[in-house]
């Protein structure tokens, strides 16, 4: 049996959540935010998945001047469905003027034989702030990866800032060769968009053997890290994320 699940989060100034609705694999819980004025939501998948054929859609809106952190309780494991059908997981994140979104889910793990297509579409106002972390782990312990296709599209003030698709696993041409992943089994990114701090572009850095931190063509920076496994990836990304966000805005901007 396949699942179609939708969830919606709307964050308003003062840590309010006027809309918090989720179900099944996208069940949501309000969790305690460390900072005043923030709201924090954790996705608590009520079942493992997605399985092939599932359709998940998460819509997050951060209203002007609001601050929201979204985390997840556990990694999401893409598993094969009965008939080899592809699962879909679509996320739409919108951040208004002066709003802050920290989008920090746990890794997505692509199990052998699974097929998952994920899209993350981010629409930022010119004065919106974003910290986004993405971690993809190719296969559980000692198994080959499934097929995993991800697209991350970030637009700021209506113009494209970052657009990246990654197509990994059986059937994706050349994915494991020296141009794309070169035998690495985990890939992650940290994206920071900070219109006030990044008037001056960040300097390029090479924080690991297969890692780069670089300015985007706009007020943002992107770190891309490849690692042998999920644990090594997570360690590297945590360090880089701290470096990228030190001094970043913790308060929403009054509008």
């Amino acid at each position: 049996m396949t699942v179609t699940a939708r969830a919606r989060i709307t964050a308003a100034p003062g840590g309010r959540l006027p809309l918090l609705a989720g179900e099944g694999p996208l069940a949501l819980r309000r969790t305690r935010a460390r900072e005043p004025g923030w709201a924090q939501v954790t996705t608590v998948g009520a079942m493992s998945g997605p399985l092939g054929g599932d359709r998940l859609r998460l819509t997050v809106t951060v209203l002007p001047g609001a601050a929201l952190r979204v985390t997840s309780a556990a990694a999401m494991v893409a598993l094969p469905g009965r008939d080899g059908a592809q699962a879909r997981y679509d996320t739409v994140l919108t951040v208004g003027e002066g709003g802050v979104l920290h989008w920090l889910p746990e890794p997505v793990i692509s199990a052998a034989g699974s097929a998952l297509r994920m899209t993350t579409r981010v629409e930022l106002a010119a004065g919106a702030h974003l910290v986004l972390r993405e971690q993809l782990v190719l296969g559980r312990a000692d198994e080959p990866t499934g097929r995993l296709t991800t697209r991350l599209t970030v637009r700021r003030a209506g113009r494209p800032l970052l657009d990246q698709e990654l197509d990994i696993g059986p059937g994706a041409p050349g994915w494991d060769a020296g141009a794309v992943l070169g035998g690495h089994r985990a890939v992650g990114q940290v994206l920071v968009v900070d219109p006030e701090r990044m008037n001056e572009p960040v300097a390029v850095a090479l924080p690991g053997p297969a890692a780069v931190l670089a300015p985007l063509p706009g007020p943002g920076a992107l770190a891309t890290v490849l690692a042998p496994d999920g644990l090594a990836l997570s360690r590297q990304l945590t360090g880089i994320a701290e470096r990228m966000t030190s001094g970043a805005r913790r308060e929403p901007v009054a509008v």
């Binding site: 494209p160 800032l161 041409p173 060769a177 490849l226």
Partner: protein, 225 residues
């Protein structure tokens, strides 16, 4: 000039647009030990063709079809997350525009050069050069796709002393993939009027991005990128 001959000229590695100074990430891959022989090169080129090559082919097709070069250049920027590759793409774009204006004189190319003194991403210029030469969006896409693999293959012959017959044979074996990528690129470019540049593919190759910045920071390089 008949259009078929114009395509040969545009896709010729000897077309004086500066491409010979670049290895398409192959030198960095050789340096990192990820590219050691013909089998690695074939897999490297396949991955590059279906990522960077596909994106370049779609940008070239869209530019040749007459879509706004400024919007296409923005789309190219968003698909190029490291400055080393953005700088390389613009430098190659300026060099190609200079060569194309001399080869196929066209007021549209002159106006482009005047409007974008900093240069545009090379695939966008490639599409406009193809247009000036009387070629189609499919021609422009094929030229871009071919260039995405012919550059690294030629460079590796020099870098590893690889047998040129092996390098040429692997390019010939990529022919069906070149056709597939060209078709996908043209289909995506056809969708731009309705869906905007988000319709263009955004296939990324993380190691090419990472290695491009590592390469830029290294001294004693044979190729600029």
């Amino acid at each position: 000039m008949p259009a078929a001959a114009a395509l040969l000229l545009l896709a010729d590695g000897r077309f004086p647009a500066g491409a010979h100074a670049h290895s398409g990430g192959a030198e960095a891959a050789v340096h990192a030990g990820r590219l050691t022989g013909p089998a690695d090169l074939a897999a490297f080129c396949l991955g590059r063709l279906h990522t960077t090559g596909l994106v370049a082919a779609a940008l070239a097709a869209a530019a040749c079809a007459g879509h706004d070069p400024r919007r296409l250049d923005e789309a190219a920027d968003a698909r190029t997350p490291v400055p080393a590759l953005r700088d390389t793409a613009r430098r190659l774009g300026r060099q190609l525009l200079r060569a194309a204006r001399a080869t196929w004189p066209d007021p549209a190319l002159d106006a482009l050069a005047a409007r974008h003194p900093g240069g545009l991403h090379q695939p966008v210029v490639l599409g406009l050069a193809a247009r000036a030469a009387g070629l189609t969006p499919a021609d422009a896409a094929l030229a871009a796709a071919y260039e995405s693999v012919s550059g690294p293959a030629t460079a590796v012959v020099r870098l590893l002393g690889l047998d040129p017959f092996d390098a040429t044979a692997l390019l010939a074996r990529l022919a069906p993939d070149l056709d597939t990528v060209t078709r996908r690129a043209v289909t995506a470019a056809d969708a731009v009027p309705e869906q905007g540049t988000d319709a263009l593919p955004a296939a990324s190759a993380p190691l090419l991005d990472i290695a491009a910045e590592q390469h830029a920071a290294r001294s004693g390089r044979l190729f600029a990128s």
